[in-house]
C-alpha cells in the first residue's frame, strides 16, 4: 500500500471537504448540460490554495510536487469528476511557463494564474503526432520578416480556448531549419489575426470548453517567445508527462467516485427480496472494481513520485524511463476509470443511465481521459519507445 504522510492526508481531507461544499449536484447538471466553465468554483479553489500546488512558493505556488497534485486530482474527481477536471485542468496551460519560461515570465504569469483571474490554455497536444513519427504542422510558418514569424493555420480542440486569456503553442523546428527543437510561443488571445471558434460540447469534460484557434497571418516576434523560443524534445516530453500524470490522478478519482456511488446503491437496493450486494454477481463485480482501482492507484502514485524527482537536468535516458512509467499510469488509470464507471452504471441499471444519479458523467469523463493528454495509443508509443 502507499503510505501517505499526515500532510498529504490533510490535503485529501481538505479537498474533499471543499468539493462536497462547492460542487453542487444541481449546478453540475446545469454546467454539464450547457458546457459552462465554472469560474466561481475555480476562483474559490484558488482562494483556498488548491491551484498550482506544485509550483514554487516564489511564484505563489505551494512548493509541492506532482505527487500531491495527483492525490488532489483524485480527491476532487472522486466527489465530482467534471468539476474536478475543470479545476485541475485550469492550470495545466500554465505548466509550460513553469517548466520552460524565463524567470520574468514565471514571476509575471504564474501568480496571475494561481491567484488571479487569468487562464492560460495550451495547444501542445497538437504536436503529439510527433511521437508517432508524423509531423503535420497545424500552424505553418508563412514567412519570416525582420525576425518576426508570420503564421497561418489552425489549432484544433484547444481545451479552455473559449475562456482563456493566453495561449501557448509550438511549431516543429523543421519549419525553421532547427530539426531538433520546437519553437514555443506565449501569445494573448485577443491578438490581431487570431480567431477563436468555440466548439460544441463533446461527450465528457463538459466544464472545459474547447475551441479551434485559427491563425490568419499572425505576426509574432521574439517578444512572444516562451523563454528564448526553443525547447527540445526532452522538455516537451516533461510537459506531456506532467499533463498525463494529472489526468491519471483524475482517472483514479473517477474510478473511486463511481465505485462509491455503486457501493452506496447496491447496499440499499433490493430485488428478489435481497440486497443487490448479496448477489454473487454483484460481489464479483465490486471486487473486480476494487482491484482495478488499487492497481491503477499503485502504478499512478509510483509514477507520480518518479516524475516529481525529475528536473531539467534529468538525463534523456532516465526521463524516457519515467515518461514511460507515467504513460503506463495514464493508460491503466484511464482504463480503470472507464471500466469501473461502466460497471457502476451497470449496477445502478436504468438509474445509472439517468443524469440525475451522477454516475453516467463519470463514464463520459473517463472516455475523454483516454483521448486527451495524448490518446492512449500515443501514450503506449512512449512506453514502447522506451522498451525497444
Amino acid at each position: 500500500m502507499v503510505n501517505l504522510d499526515k500532510f498529504q492526508k490533510d490535503i485529501i481531507k481538505a479537498a474533499k471537504e471543499f468539493a462536497k461544499g462547492e460542487f453542487e449536484p444541481e449546478a453540475a447538471l446545469e454546467y454539464d448540460g450547457e458546457g459552462v466553465f465554472p469560474h466561481e468554483v475555480i476562483n474559490k479553489a484558488k482562494e483556498l490554495g488548491f491551484i498550482g500546488i506544485h509550483f514554487s512558493e516564489q511564484y505563489t505556488g505551494a512548493g509541492l510536487t506532482y505527487f500531491e497534485e495527483v492525490i488532489l486530482s483524485e480527491a476532487l474527481a472522486q466527489v465530482d469528476s467534471t468539476f474536478g477536471i475543470s479545476i485541475m485542468y485550469s492550470v495545466v496551460g500554465a505548466e509550460p511557463i513553469f517548466l520552460f519560461g524565463s524567470e520574468e515570465q514565471k514571476s509575471e504569469f504564474l501568480p496571475k494564474v494561481i491567484e488571479g483571474d487569468e487562464i492560460i490554455c495550451h495547444a501542445l497536444g497538437n504536436n503529439y503526432d510527433f511521437i508517432l513519427g508524423a509531423n503535420s504542422p497545424c500552424i505553418r510558418v508563412e514567412s519570416i520578416q525582420d525576425g518576426a514569424f508570420i503564421l497561418n493555420g489552425e489549432l484544433s480542440n484547444v481545451i479552455n480556448g473559449p475562456c482563456a486569456d493566453w495561449l501557448i503553442f509550438c511549431i516543429h523546428g523543421s519549419q525553421i531549419h532547427r530539426d531538433e527543437d520546437f519553437c514555443i510561443f506565449l501569445v494573448p488571445l485577443d491578438m490581431d489575426g487570431i480567431e477563436i471558434e468555440p466548439k460544441v460540447k463533446g461527450l465528457g469534460w463538459s466544464m472545459c470548453p474547447r475551441a479551434n484557434i485559427v491563425f490568419n497571418n499572425v505576426e509574432l516576434d521574439k517578444t512572444y517567445f516562451l523563454r528564448n523560443g526553443y525547447i527540445g524534445k526532452k522538455e516537451l516530453m516533461r510537459f506531456w508527462a506532467s499533463e498525463m500524470i494529472i489526468i491519471a490522478g483524475l482517472c483514479l478519482g473517477i474510478a473511486k467516485g463511481s465505485l462509491d456511488k455503486a457501493l452506496d446503491y447496491v447496499k440499499v437496493r433490493e430485488q428478489f427480496n435481497k440486497k443487490l450486494m448479496d448477489f454473487p454477481v454483484t460481489r464479483e463485480k465490486i471486487s473486480e472494481m476494487l482491484i482495478k482501482v488499487l492497481q491503477a492507484r499503485l502504478i499512478t502514485y509510483n509514477a507520480a513520485k518518479a516524475l516529481s524527482n525529475t528536473t531539467r537536468k534529468t538525463s534523456w535516458k532516465k526521463l524516457s524511463k519515467i515518461v514511460s512509467q507515467v504513460s503506463m499510469a495514464k493508460v491503466s488509470s484511464a482504463r480503470a476509470a472507464k471500466e469501473v464507471s461502466d460497471q457502476s452504471i451497470q449496477l445502478l441499471g436504468g438509474y445509472g443511465y439517468m443524469r440525475e444519479y451522477h454516475v453516467e458523467r463519470f463514464y463520459r469523463d473517463a472516455k475523454c481521459c483516454e483521448l486527451l493528454g495524448g490518446n492512449i495509443h500515443a501514450n503506449r508509443e512512449l512506453i514502447i519507445q522506451n522498451a525497444v
Binding site: 447538471l29 433490493e270 430485488q271 428478489f272 427480496n273 452504471i345 441499471g349 436504468g350 443511465y353 439517468m354 443524469r355 440525475e356 453516467e360 463514464y363 463520459r364
Partner: protein, 235 residues
C-alpha cells in the same frame, strides 16, 4: 454466402426504408435530439409508407411479412444513429402482445392504427422499485365489476410521451402469489387517471421520449385485459 434467407422483397424493403430514413429521418435527428422527442407526424409518415409493424397480418393493414422484415427495420433505424424513432419497440415488442393475446375486437380496434402510425405504443412494466424483479411490481388492477381500476407508477418507459396506447403490467391485489397475480392491460392515452410524467434526462438516446407514467384510479374497460388473467409468468 447468404446466412439469412433474404429474398428479393426483403432487399427492396430495406432499400425503400433506407431511402425513407435518408430523406425523412437523418436530416431531422439533430433537431429531435435537442427537442428530446420525435414528432408524431414522422411515425404517421413511416406507417403510411409501410414500414411499421411489417409482420402484422394483411387483414389489419399490415405487410404480413416474416421476422426478417423486423430485423431489417431494427437494423436500418439503428443505422441512422439515433433511437428516438423506436419503431422496433412498437412493431416487434408491444404490438405482438396485441397480436398474440388481444381479442378479435381489440385487434380490429387497434392494429390498423398501429400499422398506419396513428397509434404509437409503449410497454409499461418497470417501476421505481421493480427492475429485473418483475414480480415485485406494486401497480395494481382491481376488478370492479364493469371495469378494472389501475393504481401505481411506472418508470423508464420508452415512447412514454408519444404513446397513444400502453400495455401495462399490474397485479390483482386479491391474489397473494405475485407470480399468479400479474396480468397485462391496455390503457389508452387520454383515459382519466392516466398521466405522463416528464421526459427523463439521460446519458444518451436523447430523442427517445423515455418517461414515467402514473395511474391514479384509472378505469379501463374489462375487454382491455390481454389474454387470460394472471397469465404473465406462465407464457
Amino acid at each position: 454466402m447468404q446466412i439469412l434467407p433474404y429474398k428479393k422483397e426483403h432487399h427492396e424493403f430495406r432499400k425503400r426504408l433506407r431511402e425513407f430514413c435518408k430523406k425523412e429521418v437523418i436530416p431531422n435527428i439533430p433537431m429531435w435530439e435537442q427537442q428530446k422527442l420525435v414528432p408524431k407526424e414522422v411515425w404517421q409518415h413511416m406507417g403510411r409508407s409501410g414500414f411499421l409493424c411489417p409482420t402484422v397480418d394483411k387483414r389489419y393493414g399490415g405487410l404480413g411479412g416474416d421476422f426478417l422484415y423486423s430485423v431489417i427495420l431494427a437494423e436500418e433505424i439503428a443505422y441512422t444513429n439515433h433511437s428516438g424513432l423506436f419503431a422496433s419497440l412498437h412493431s416487434d415488442v408491444v404490438v405482438p402482445y396485441i397480436v398474440s393475446y388481444g381479442s378479435e375486437e381489440i385487434k380490429q380496434k387497434y392494429l390498423p392504427g398501429c400499422v398506419k402510425g396513428d397509434i404509437i405504443t409503449a410497454v409499461a412494466m418497470t417501476e421505481p422499485d421493480a427492475g429485473s424483479d418483475l414480480s415485485s411490481i406494486k401497480t395494481i388492477a382491481q376488478d370492479q365489476g364493469d371495469y378494472f381500476v389501475l393504481n401505481g407508477s411506472k418508470t423508464f418507459i420508452s415512447n412514454g410521451i408519444n404513446c397513444d396506447l400502453v400495455v401495462v403490467a399490474a397485479r390483482d391485489p386479491d391474489i397473494e402469489d405475485p407470480y399468479k397475480a400479474m396480468s397485462l392491460y391496455l390503457v389508452e392515452d387520454g383515459t382519466e387517471g392516466f398521466n405522463k410524467g416528464n421526459k427523463l434526462d439521460k446519458m444518451g438516446m436523447h430523442s427517445q421520449d423515455t418517461a414515467e407514467l402514473f395511474f391514479v384510479n384509472c378505469k379501463i374497460p374489462k375487454k382491455n385485459i390481454l389474454g387470460q388473467k394472471t397469465m404473465v409468468f406462465l407464457c
